[in-house]
């Protein structure tokens, strides 16, 4: 055998041997490391880091939590790749709509492998998420929902209906420099994402798919919702001509928009920016329905590659991260909605006005379907929605295109 081939053979065997080495026990010296990938950001990330540091101090020498932040899209994709490759973090923190994709790809161990039934029994139905008969995620918060966030200095209170709200927002939209372009808008949000369109769709009586996962977007309700959004911009002129997530954030944080539609992940950042903000339900549409955002839980799932010996360590970590003490601290500091009902009864949680307003919005929200097909729904809606917003197609054409696109993507997925 030529020498170079012999060298490759040796290296190949060495690499294979190291890859197949059984992960058969805790390290002989030093703590057991538990790696968590997450998508926490801003104020929530600061809070999380403090809690992790406290845990590591308390369990010094026995368990050490290590964390890695990733953006949501990257988090999902990289976790699948890592898990399929036999690697990846021990725990992954993210929205519940990821779990069906993870489960389909065989990337998770059920949380029931790690947490005892007695612990899981303390959660409500939004706290332990199942899909296809197995429990895949234990949540430290429920919500992840959009709400109407307003600058109290500019808009003292939010009425229940858009009919009442629109004139108020028109009065707040002002061109102070006289250049023909408003320097302050009544409202803004991210128009490029269909996730932010759903409250208008549900408010018009529509929804994205049937229970058996057929898209339901080419409907008069979708057309009505699109028209309503276009009217806010073109007829009432209370929202900017163009606004993605960053523009919306900047406008609201700089006081150049009186209100913004955004979710709990952003609220603490408004406080940090010095905005005295309030939370209200997104108002009722002209037909009398609430503009209902999609709701989901956020929590931890267990990598399928976690070895059995590590399970007791993960149990300690998960009980810490999702337990009542942590959920109380989160509700108090971040106004997240707990998934353990007894936490909601604690006075400082029950009396938190932001949390109560968030709960009120959650009460009229619509749970996100836990199916891999939701990915195609968002991707299929996004393009036509953007075309409608740019005026390239009519609302009717936009609705039709959404339906066709979503259906095509669903068909493509299985190819």
């Amino acid at each position: 055998m030529p020498r170079i081939l012999r060298l490759f053979a040796v290296l190949w065997l060495a690499a294979s041997a190291s890859a197949c080495r059984p992960d058969d026990g805790p390290p002989k010296d030093g703590p057991v490391e538990v790696l968590i990938w997450h998508k926490k950001d801003g104020v929530e990330l600061d809070f999380f880091n403090r809690q992790v540091a406290a845990f590591n101090r308390e369990h010094d020498g026995r368990i050490r939590i290590k964390t890695l932040k990733r953006d949501n899209e990257e988090l999902r994709t990289q976790f699948i790749f890592a898990s399929v490759g036999g690697q990846g973090p021990d725990l992954i923190f993210g929205p519940s709509d990821n779990i069906s994709v993870f489960a389909v790809t065989g990337s998770l161990r059920p949380v029931t492998d790690v947490l005892p039934d007695t612990f899981l029994a303390r959660f409500d139905s939004s706290g332990v998420l199942d899909w296809n008969g197995k429990k895949w995620l234990v949540a430290d918060q429920v919500g992840n929902h959009l709400a109407f966030v307003y600058n109290k200095r500019l808009l003292p209170a939010v009425p229940e209906t858009w009919e009442e709200l629109i004139p108020m927002l028109q009065a707040l939209t002002k061109d102070t420099t006289g250049d023909g372009r408003p320097d302050r808008y009544g409202l803004t949000w991210n128009y490029t994402e269909p996730f932010f369109f759903v409250p208008f769709l549900t408010g018009a009586g529509g929804w994205v798919m049937t229970p058996d996962e057929k898209p339901t977007l080419d409907t008069p309700q979708t057309v009505e919702a699109i028209r309503f959004v276009l009217d806010l911009r073109d007829k009432y002129k209370i929202i900017p001509g163009e606004s993605d997530y960053n523009v919306a954030e900047t406008l609201f944080k700089e006081g150049r928009a009186a209100a913004v539609i955004n979710g709990p992940w952003a609220w603490a950042g408004y406080k940090r920016a010095g905005i005295d903000y309030g939370i209200a339900r997104i108002p009722k549409m002209p037909g009398g329905r609430w503009s209902a955002p999609v709701t989901s839980s956020l929590g931890y799932s267990v990598n399928v590659n976690v070895p059995d010996w590590k399970v007791p360590y993960l149990r300690t970590v998960l009980e810490f991260l999702t337990g009542p003490a942590m959920q109380t601290a989160m509700a108090d500091s971040l106004a997240t909605i707990p998934t353990q009902p007894q936490v909601l009864a604690i006075p400082k949680v029950a009396e938190n006005p932001i949390l109560q307003a968030s709960l009120a919005q959650l009460a009229v929200g619509r749970p996100m379907p836990l199916t891999p097909q939701m990915r195609q729904v968002w991707d299929g809606m996004r393009g036509p929605y953007q075309l409608v917003m740019s005026g390239s197609v009519s609302p009717e054409q936009g609705a039709r295109k959404m339906q066709v696109e979503v259906q095509n993507l669903m068909d493509d997925m299985s190819r």
């Binding site: 020498r3 490759f8 790809t105 490029t192 900017p240 163009e242 993605d244 991707d379 997925m413």
Partner: protein, 303 residues
């Protein structure tokens, strides 16, 4: 005989030395080029997708057929050709123009100009692309503010209309790409013998005539490989188009083939299909390179 023996031992020692020197390089090339390429080839014949990520199997040429049957493929291919031609044309035109200007004797502070003009190339593409995206914002972006204030033009929907969004990506990439051609052309200009221009002056040639009859032919040997490289880079430049258009917005109308592959693989998890499309891109670029280099005699000596 002792002499022959020592020669053999020396040769053996020398080949052993060469083997150990080359082995790391060969290993790295195999690991980071050959293995991924072969794996990609295998995937392109497979049914690997979200539902078959662990239990995928080879299914034949189906993914290639699906690539060519995809209605968007030809549209995006056309757009990719347009993207490449326009970008490379402006990279070369602006790059050569600036290089010729910088080569003139009357230009003062050449090194400062050179540094300034290389800046777009020196900045990370990621930062540049996102900065340009901010500048293309309809209401608050610098581009529309400039158009309105100084040219009295209506604002343009740079990021929300398909054609304008594609133009925005092209403008950004032209800005990013011309310094490379400028540097290459500057290098080429230094090697043109001054006597040629002096002889042309004696013959009474105009500046324009000198440019076309001396500068352009003499720059050809350095520019042809640079254009080939530039074409391949631009054809496959996912960063700019992805970041400026935020992943193909609006409505996936600003994709080039490589960004479409990225989306298919990493957003839609259509790995088999994406692998087939990526090999189609590879074939297109391979063919282009061969034909272009042959047609332009780029490998022939210059003088």
């Amino acid at each position: 005989m002792p002499n022959g023996k020592s020669n053999t031992a020396e040769r053996r020692q020398r080949s052993r030395f060469l083997f150990w020197m080359l082995a790391p390089t060969v290993l790295i090339v195999l690991a980071v080029v050959a293995y991924p390429l072969m794996y990609n080839v295998v995937l392109s014949f497979s049914n690997m997708n979200l539902y078959h990520i662990r239990d995928w199997k080879v299914v034949g040429l189906g993914q290639y057929a699906a690539v060519f049957a995809e209605p968007n493929f030809w549209k995006i291919f056309g757009k990719t050709v347009l993207w490449t031609v326009v970008n490379v044309f402006f990279h070369v035109a602006i790059g050569v123009f600036l290089a010729v200007m910088l080569h003139q004797k009357f230009i003062k502070g050449k090194s400062a100009w050179r540094t300034l003009l290389i800046l777009p190339w020196a900045l990370p593409q990621y930062i540049t692309a996102l900065t340009w995206r901010g500048m293309f914002n309809y209401e608050y972006g610098a581009v529309n503010l400039f158009l309105g204030k100084f040219l009295n033009l209506s604002p343009i929907e740079w990021l929300t209309s398909p054609t304008e969004a594609f133009m925005a990506a092209i403008i950004t990439n032209v800005w990013l790409g011309f310094p490379f051609m400028m540097v290459v052309a500057l290098g080429g200009l230094q090697s043109i013998p001054e006597e040629l221009y002096e002889a042309a002056d004696v013959d009474g040639a105009s500046a324009w005539s000198k440019f076309w009859n001396i500068t352009v032919p003499m720059l050809r040997p350095v520019l042809i490989p640079a254009i080939t490289l530039g074409t391949v880079w631009t054809f496959n430049n996912i960063n700019v188009v992805w970041l400026v258009s935020n992943g193909g917005e609006p409505a996936d109308q600003t994709h080039i083939l490589v960004s479409y592959v990225y989306k298919a693989a990493f957003a839609m998890y259509r790995f088999g299909w994406a692998a087939a499309l990526s090999l189609v891109i590879f074939a297109i670029l391979f063919l282009f390179t061969q034909v272009f280099l042959r047609q332009t005699d780029a490998t022939e000596p210059a003088y």
